[in-house]
């Protein structure tokens, strides 16, 4: 599993896949480095599963090339690729027990029995399935089936482990613990994991790199932090986290928003959208305490939603709905639905998007 970290492990060049008249993936370029834990994130129908299937070899691209570890595998089937997949429905073999499921791939490689047993025991230990070796897989819980699917793929020591919505079928609590488990496994074996998800929180908590897809195209990639702080499009800003979007225009490096606020921001003239994250905004009873250099808006609280550690305030300001997230301990006293409030945020919390 130790690859040279300098060259990209997986390289997709101009990959396109069409189903009838629908373009599932369009001229997509993607580089995956060894050791990455990459999330392919997007809404359903964005082409992310098609992309994963093309990396695995279950679908062949109409055009473009796929290289894995320097080998062109574009036309290779899944059985010839150094990748292994954890399927969304697990795809376990129902007529085999846990051990037989996990050992199947190595048996196909005609590995000696003793060596298979040793590898199986190692991997079963790793995924915490000890004691379940002789169970029939149909008698397992969802989380346990997930572990079997994971170990069945990991035992092959794939250069790239692919996971298709790995945690989608699990309930919230199990999902959280499997997320930690996956991180732990990734750290302990140091492989390259690529997973597909529509759940932004899952992507953010698991991956060290996120790729966002929309309509078959890759629209932004980076760490969770980079994408959250500097979304490139309106879609990304609302897909990753919540966003308050204010539209306006830029002229001579100055942005004028429709809500009447102005700030300086270098860039081409024309229409812009300004993103302000809900937690960047503070609320107060009067404008007196607000410093001069902040962006301020007057508004009225519509609704206050208590979320435990946070409070979500829906505020009408300048005839639009603004969402503000404040920590439960810092909401000023006496603030209820109907209160008049002042909103403020720092100019550096503005993220200007100029989308064509």
């Amino acid at each position: 599993m130790n690859q040279n970290t300098d060259h990209p492990l997986v390289q997709l060049t101009a990959v396109t896949k069409q189903f009838g008249h629908t373009v599932a993936v369009h001229l997509l370029e993607l580089t995956i480095s060894a050791g990455d834990f990459l999330a392919i994130l997007g809404p359903s129908g964005c082409g992310k599963t098609t992309l994963l299937n093309m990396i695995a070899g279950f679908m062949l691209p109409d055009s473009g090339t796929i290289e894995i570890d320097g080998v062109d595998v574009t036309r290779h089937g899944p059985e010839r690729r150094p990748t292994n997949m954890v399927f969304q429905g697990y795809g376990l073999f129902p007529h085999m027990n846990v051990r037989q499921n996990v050992a199947y791939g190595l048996r196909l490689r005609k590995m000696p029995r003793a060596k298979i047993d040793q590898r199986v025991n190692e991997i079963i230990e790793l995924v915490d399935l000890k004691g379940f070796e002789d169970r029939n897989v149909t008698q397992l819980s969802g989380g346990q089936m997930q572990r079997v699917a994971l170990s069945r793929a990991l035992i092959m020591r794939p250069k790239v482990l692919l996971l298709d919505e790995p945690l989608a079928a699990l309930d919230l609590k199990l999902r959280k613990s499997m997320q930690e488990e996956l991180r732990r496994i990734h750290q302990s074996i140091g492989g390259t994991f690529v997973f597909v998800t529509h759940d932004q929180e899952e992507a953010m908590s698991l991956a060290n790199r996120i790729v966002i897809m929309q309509d078959g195209k890759l629209i932004q990639e980076g760490t969770a932090r980079e994408i959250y702080d500097r979304p490139k499009t309106r879609f990304v800003s609302t897909f990753i986290g919540e966003a308050n979007l204010f539209s306006g225009y830029r002229k001579d490096d100055k942005v004028v928003l429709d809500i009447g606020l102005t700030f300086s921001n270098a860039g081409p003239d024309g229409h812009v959208d300004n993103v302000v994250r809900p937690e960047a905004i503070t609320v107060s009873h009067s404008s007196g305490s607000i410093q001069n250099d902040l962006m301020t808006l007057k508004g009225k609280i519509d609704d206050i939603i208590f979320l435990g550690p946070y409070i979500n305030c829906r505020i009408t300001a300048a005839k639009r709905m603004v969402t503000v997230l404040v920590s439960s301990s810092s909401l000023p006293e006496g603030m209820t639905s109907g209160s008049d409030v002042f909103l403020a945020w720092r100019p550096e919390d503005n993220t200007v998007i100029n989308e064509k």
């Binding site: 279950f58 059985e79 997949m85 399927f87 795809g91 376990l92 073999f93 129902p94 007529h95 199947y104």
Partner: protein, 281 residues
């Protein structure tokens, strides 16, 4: 809980009583009779196994022949049915329902009708002979198509095919396609996917299809009589003869129970061997 049980029992009563009265009870009666004797058209209660000894001594050839033909019919029909069911399940995409409907529609038309149809196809002035003569391949009708074991195999395989497709299709349908992709992903060739993943999962369906066709063929006596010709001596013909012409119910019953016993033996053996071969390692 109690009312559940009462409901279950009351729901089972109709089918169980039909099954009990017109299948189990007569069967038990004939089982008892098979140990009796016949004397001047009279049944004499007894506990003798001479009938069974007679069956095994005098009817060895028909027994061999019957189980040979039944095994061939079972195998041919099951293999054809499997191929057809496999195509419906995995290879025909959106036409699968049409194909399945085609299978069901062939169930229309009775057993005798189909046998007579084969008689006209294979017969002296049948379609096959006429066609071959028109093509100048033969000068005069040839008799080799009809009145031989082959005609029995063809007729019964044709009749049983749709009935054999259904259990296999049912078994194939419950296979999760992701498990096939999983095997492929782990490096299995198409053949290994088929052998290791598909076959073990539809074992029951295949066994059901084989059992159905095998038992039907082993017990049939009409088809051999109509298309089999004089040398196709299936045991069913002899059993019918014992009951119908010779009035020797004890011997007929002994024959019937010998057939049942051998059939069960063959089926259990095949099931065990199949299970053993396809057992995951």
């Amino acid at each position: 809980m109690k009312s559940y049980r009462a409901t279950t029992i009351s729901l089972l009563i109709p089918s169980f009583s039909i099954f009990g009265f017109i299948f189990v009870a007569p069967l038990l009666y004939f089982f008892v009779v098979s140990f009796w004797r016949k004397k001047r058209f009279q049944l004499i209660p007894d506990a003798t196994i001479t009938n069974y000894v007679q069956v095994l001594e005098e009817y060895t050839r028909p027994l061999w022949f019957t189980f040979g033909v039944a095994t061939i019919i079972g195998l041919v029909t099951t293999i054809l049915a499997f191929v057809f069911a496999y195509v419906i399940r995995f290879k025909s995409g959106r036409y699968s329902l049409h194909l399945l409907f085609l299978v069901l529609i062939t169930l229309f038309g009775g057993y005798l009708t189909k046998i007579y149809v084969w008689k006209t196809i294979l017969g002296q002035t049948g379609i096959l002979n006429t066609a071959l003569m028109m093509l100048n391949i033969i000068d005069e009708p040839i008799m080799m198509f009809l009145f031989n074991p082959m005609a029995v195999v063809i007729s019964l395989a044709h009749y049983m095919l749709p009935l054999a497709v259904l259990p296999i299709y049912g078994a194939l349908r419950s296979i999760d396609e992701t498990s096939l992709r999983g095997a492929l992903d782990l490096g299995a060739s198409r053949f290994r996917v088929f052998w290791d993943i598909v076959l073990p999962q539809c074992q029951m369906g295949i066994m059901a299809a084989f059992t159905l066709t095998f038992l039907f063929a082993a017990g049939d006596w009409v088809t051999p009589k109509l298309v089999g010709g004089p040398y196709t001596s299936m045991i069913g013909t002899f059993i019918q003869y014992q009951y119908g012409s010779r009035f020797n119910q004890p011997l007929g019953s002994a024959m019937a129970f010998t057939v049942i016993a051998i059939s069960l033996l063959i089926l259990v053996t095949i099931a065990l061997v199949g299970k053993r071969i396809l057992k995951p390692r």
